[in-house]
Structure formats: structure tokens, C-alpha cells
């Protein structure tokens, strides 16, 4: 029989045991969000494939055909999709998780479960979209007869996804907590994401920069590192492992800041939301 105490919260804990106890809720929240997202659309879940495809075509048209942006010696669509895969996990995951607490306010006010499940599931929803987008990825690789180093693929791709998810979770849970109290973040976030899309080497090569300050920022930025890592499977370029290491450390730091902020403020979500 489970025994527990309810009292005023004073010391910080991650609450891992409880998250494991409620693990089924991760599945149900993710499942609900995926279902609801595509429910009213005639094309349904096909949009999960079409969205990255359309994005890629659009950016190929603008950046490759019109602006002739360098793509590190690989076809631009391959270049773009390998950036977009990572970028979409980040941007969708951040958007979903930042708004997740507010969107689920009616549930939070009425029932208890570890609150972290909500922003975490929101990121899992973005990962489900990613799985669908992978089909486009594979299709493009085949279409362009892109040579693939499978050893690199199976190490670099999961590693870059891991860095992205950890970063997204940190920022997402941080913003989710702030958003409960200050809805301003809901309005700021689209601009932030748009800015970050252009500030990260998603659509252009990181080599485009010669300014040492920008290069340092790219090194510290975990998303930029993840994209370059994911991309180096094809470009054959040397991976900047120092950048990846720094990016990973930053990701982990963001992760803990996010969880700490979230856990510190979650007791009052029901009163504020």
C-alpha cells in the first residue's frame, strides 16, 4: 500500500519515482495531442509528412535557387531536410510545451498528477511528428542517391536528437512555468522561434560566418551543434566535437534550469492558471 505525506513544499526534488508511477499518462497525453491535432483535417496524419516537405521545397526555392546559398557540397534539399528535422523537433516541441500548461489548465485545476508530464508529453508529440518526417528524409536521400555512412548515421543522428530534446525540454518547461503567470510569453514565443530559425544554421551553412563572436555563439548554442552534427553524416566534414561537447553541457544546464523553475512554481499553477 502506498503511503505518502502532503505538506508545504520546502525542498527541491526531481520527482522521478512519481513520474515512473504515472508513466502511462505520458502515453495518453501524447496520444491525445497527436489525435486531436490531425482530427479535423481531411489529409489527417499526412500533414505530419507534408509540413516538412513543403517547408523544404519552399526553402530550396528561396535559398538554393534564388539566393544560391552554399550547401557544403551536398544537394540543397538534403542539406535543408537534415537541418529541418532537428529544427522542427525544437520549434514544435518548444511551442507545444510552452503553451501546454495553459492549454491543460482545466485538468490541472481538477486533478493531481506530476505536472512535468504535461510539457514532457508536448515534446513527445513533436517527436511523433519527427518520426513521420523521417520518411521524407529517407525519400530524399534515395532520390538524390546520397551516399550514407551508416555507422555515422546511427551515432550522429540519435545524438543530435538527444541534444535537441534535452534543450527543448529545458527551455520548454521553463517557458511553460512562466507562461502560467505571464501570458506574454505566449505572444513573444512565435517571434522568438522565427528569430531562432534564422539565427541557427538550419537553412544556411554555419561556415557562412567569419565573425569570431558569431562562431562562439554557434559553439555554445546546442541546437546549432545538433544541426551540424546531424548534417555531417552527409557532408563528410569533420565534426566539431568541442562544439558538440559545449552544446551538450549547455543543453544539460538548460534542462536543469527548466525543471528547477518548473518544480519551484508548479504548486501554484492551479491557483494561477
Amino acid at each position: 500500500m502506498t503511503e505518502y505525506e502532503i505538506k508545504a513544499k520546502n525542498k527541491f526534488s526531481f520527482g522521478l519515482a512519481e513520474l515512473i508511477q504515472y508513466r502511462e499518462l505520458f502515453y495518453f497525453f501524447t496520444w491525445r495531442d497527436v489525435k486531436v491535432k490531425y482530427k479535423q483535417a481531411a489529409l489527417g496524419i499526412l500533414w505530419a509528412i507534408l509540413q516538412p516537405l513543403i517547408m523544404m521545397l519552399m526553402f530550396t526555392l528561396i535559398f538554393s535557387k534564388a539566393l544560391k546559398v552554399s550547401s557544403d557540397g551536398i544537394p540543397y534539399p538534403v542539406f535543408a531536410i537534415s537541418g529541418l528535422l532537428i529544427w522542427n523537433i525544437f520549434s514544435n516541441g518548444l511551442m507545444n510545451s510552452a503553451n501546454s500548461m495553459v492549454n491543460n489548465a482545466n485538468i490541472i485545476k481538477k486533478i493531481y498528477f506530476p505536472r512535468l508530464i504535461i510539457p514532457m508529453s508536448a515534446i513527445l508529440t513533436a517527436l511523433v511528428d519527427f518520426l513521420f518526417a523521417l520518411t521524407i528524409y529517407v525519400a530524399i536521400l534515395i532520390y538524390y542517391h546520397q551516399g550514407v555512412d551508416f555507422v555515422k548515421l546511427f551515432i550522429y543522428l540519435p545524438l543530435s536528437i538527444l541534444i535537441t530534446v534535452v534543450t527543448t525540454f529545458g527551455l520548454g518547461s521553463f517557458l511553460a512555468a512562466l507562461n502560467v503567470k505571464y501570458r506574454d510569453f505566449q505572444y513573444l514565443l512565435p517571434f522568438m522561434i522565427q528569430f531562432l530559425l534564422f539565427a541557427n544554421p538550419v537553412l544556411y551553412s554555419a561556415k557562412a560566418f567569419t565573425n569570431p563572436v558569431i562562431n562562439t555563439i554557434m559553439k555554445v548554442n546546442p541546437i546549432a551543434s545538433a544541426i551540424q552534427l546531424c548534417r555531417s553524416v552527409f557532408t563528410g566534414q569533420e565534426v566539431d566535437w568541442q562544439g558538440v561537447a559545449i552544446g551538450s553541457i549547455v543543453a544539460v544546464v538548460l534542462f536543469f534550469i527548466g525543471i528547477y523553475t518548473f518544480r519551484k512554481t508548479e504548486s501554484y499553477f492551479a491557483d494561477l492558471a
Binding site: 502506498t2 505525506e5 505538506k7 486531436v36 504548486s267
Partner: protein, 350 residues
């Protein structure tokens, strides 16, 4: 809330009662871990499920079937448990025909039935229920009440239950806790606590307030029942005090049943405004309470310059009992779930 101390033993079913604002909902929120207490602690032994609302997590775009799973898991059921009870839940709700229809196409009644059915099959060791049974159709309510009673009696489940409905409390619980102003007034057998609660309401037909803000406010409200059924009148005498220069305001009285259901609002009909400038004045008004069925009723007093702006709002300050049926001379099968009696005088066969 302060200085609340009580034990609930396994298998016990306990009712929590008190006037609006007594702290019942706050207590339940703390017990169900939705808001943390600022001090003190609660020790729970066993799996807790709380029903502060039915259908938590229902999503209009999902089908009935999907919502059973969503709602069940949010309430703390494992997927395997939902699978096990799925057919019984659907049976109990009576919506099997629409199981694959999105919830948004359900009538509100059907949504409630489905929600209740999921709740009825929860199997925690401790069940916390807010006034959720106050909604939905009476027959289905009774069915749920019986199912929950079964559960607590036969399976030794602990139930904590908040309600304004004394009948529901009597049916479900053995002991009751009476709360007032965030404190425990009495914690005893249902038979001891309910009369105390009812007396507290009945005894206040005269309410006084020593001090308040400068804006127009009530300092006294008292009521007297006049005349006889079916033409009862409620004579309300109230005193309004204002310490600042104000122009005009109007008053309204809300009447609700002691089960928390709003019966109606009494508002002035001709010249609604009274002068509330800088003084203390006493007014007397008469409210016709035609057609009220026997029961206990509570009166709230409101004053403001405009319907959307409030100077003072005193909830459930005075109360009264109605003993006689509005249709005297008739053995009336009294059923308050039908609401008050609206008589018709003429019937023409055309």
C-alpha cells in the same frame, strides 16, 4: 483554513458539510494535492482518486471510446484496468451506440453519463468526491449514488464526500465533519452533525455586521416569512450604511436551496434605485415566494450601482424553512428535484 485535525479510517465514508465559503472546497483541493497546504501535513495510506469534477480531460474532438481511456487514465486508472471495465462502463452509461462519435456531438446529458460511468468504476482505496453529483438527471444521479454506496460498503473503500445535499450525505456517509470559517465545528455521526448544520442555517434569520469598507454595504439583513402557502411572502429588512458620498444603487436578493441550487433572484421592478448617500438607512421589502416546495433556503444580499459592479455581496447570510406544500389540501408526492411548483390555473379543452 486553520487548525483542522481529523482521522478517517479505512472503509469509512465521511461527509464534509458547511456553508458556502466554509472551506470545504479548499480542504478537498489540499487533500487531492491540487494546491499545497501552507503549513501542516496530511498522511495518506493508499491510492487516492479525486473527483472534483466529472469528465476531467474530456476532449470534444475525441470519440466517446477515446475519452473513456483519456479520462480514466487522468483519474488514475491503469490502461489494463480500463480495458477490464470498458464494457461495464459503456453499459452503465448507456451510450454504446455513439461510442465512436466525437464527444462534441453528444448532448450534455450524454457527456455527463459517460463521465459518471468512468468515475463509478474507479477502484482507488480512497475516493474524494466534490459536489459532482449535483448535476445530471436525478435518476442517473441515484444510480451513481447507489453504485458508490455499494463500493464503499462492500469493498471497504474510504470515501470523502462534500455536498450541500443532506440526503446524499445521509445515503453515503456514516460520519460527517461540519466546517465553518475554515475550522472544524463538529466531527461526529451523521445523525448528530446534520441537525447542527441545518440549525445553524435556520437560526440565522437576522444577520449583523459590525464594520466594513466605506462604500455602501449591508450592516443588517433580517427576514420574516409572512402569509401562507401558496402565497408566501418573504419580508426582508435590511440596513445599508455608506461612509462616502455615493449617488444611487440598487439591491437584489438571491435565493438558493440549501443543496446549493440557485432558485432565483429577487430584484425591484419599478424605480430600482435607492439613495445611498452618506448615511445609514433601513429599508423593508417584500418578496413573493410563490410555489416554493418544502425545504431550507438561503438568501444572499447584493448591492451595486450597476449590474456589473458590486459594492457589497453577502452570500447566504440568512435562511428560512418552508414546511408546507404550495398545494395545500392535497397529498402531494413531494419531489424537490422537480424544482419549485409553477401552477397553472386554467385548462381549456379546445
Amino acid at each position: 483554513m486553520d487548525d483542522i485535525n481529523f482521522n478517517v479510517n479505512a472503509g469509512e465514508s465521511i461527509g464534509i458539510i458547511g456553508r458556502n465559503g466554509a472551506g470545504k472546497s479548499t480542504l478537498l483541493k489540499i487533500l487531492s494535492r491540487i494546491t499545497p497546504p501552507s503549513s501542516g501535513k496530511i498522511v495518506c495510506r493508499g491510492r487516492v482518486a479525486s473527483l472534483l469534477e466529472v469528465g476531467t480531460g474530456f476532449h470534444p474532438e475525441l470519440s466517446g471510446r477515446e475519452n473513456v481511456y483519456m479520462n480514466g487514465s487522468i483519474l488514475g486508472m491503469r490502461k489494463a484496468e480500463i480495458n477490464k471495465h470498458f464494457d461495464s462502463i459503456v453499459d452503465f452509461s448507456g451510450v454504446e451506440k455513439f461510442l465512436d462519435t466525437p464527444l462534441k456531438r453528444y448532448s450534455s446529458g450524454m457527456q455527463l453519463r459517460l463521465a459518471f460511468s468512468v468515475a463509478a468504476f474507479l477502484e482507488p482505496e480512497i475516493l474524494i468526491i466534490d459536489e459532482v453529483l449535483a448535476v445530471g438527471d436525478a435518476e442517473f444521479q441515484k444510480k451513481c449514488l447507489n453504485k458508490m454506496k455499494d463500493v464503499s460498503m462492500n469493498e471497504g473503500r474510504t470515501v470523502l464526500f462534500v455536498s450541500h445535499d443532506m440526503n446524499a450525505i445521509k445515503t453515503l456517509s456514516n460520519t460527517a465533519i461540519l466546517l465553518d470559517a475554515g475550522k472544524v465545528v463538529k466531527n461526529d455521526k451523521v445523525g448528530e452533525v446534520i441537525p447542527l448544520y441545518l440549525n445553524r442555517i435556520q437560526l440565522t434569520n437576522n444577520w449583523n455586521r459590525p464594520e466594513a469598507s466605506a462604500a455602501p454595504h449591508f450592516t443588517n439583513v433580517s427576514i420574516v416569512i409572512k402569509d401562507h402557502q401558496p402565497k408566501l411572502k418573504l419580508e426582508v429588512t435590511f440596513t445599508i450604511k455608506s461612509d462616502v458620498k455615493m449617488n444611487k444603487a440598487f439591491v437584489a436578493f438571491n435565493i438558493s436551496s440549501n443543496t446549493g441550487t440557485m432558485i432565483g433572484q429577487a430584484i425591484p421592478n419599478l424605480e430600482p434605485f435607492i439613495d445611498v448617500s452618506f448615511s445609514e438607512q433601513t429599508f423593508t421589502t417584500e418578496i413573493e415566494i410563490t410555489g416554493f416546495v418544502p425545504g431550507t433556503f438561503l438568501v444572499s444580499a447584493w448591492i451595486g450601482p450597476h449590474y456589473s459592479e458590486t459594492y457589497d455581496w453577502q452570500k447566504d447570510v440568512v435562511g428560512f424553512n418552508i414546511v408546507d406544500s404550495p398545494q395545500p389540501g392535497r397529498v402531494y408526492p413531494h419531489a424537490s428535484e422537480q424544482g419549485n411548483i409553477v401552477p397553472f390555473s386554467k385548462m381549456i379543452n379546445s
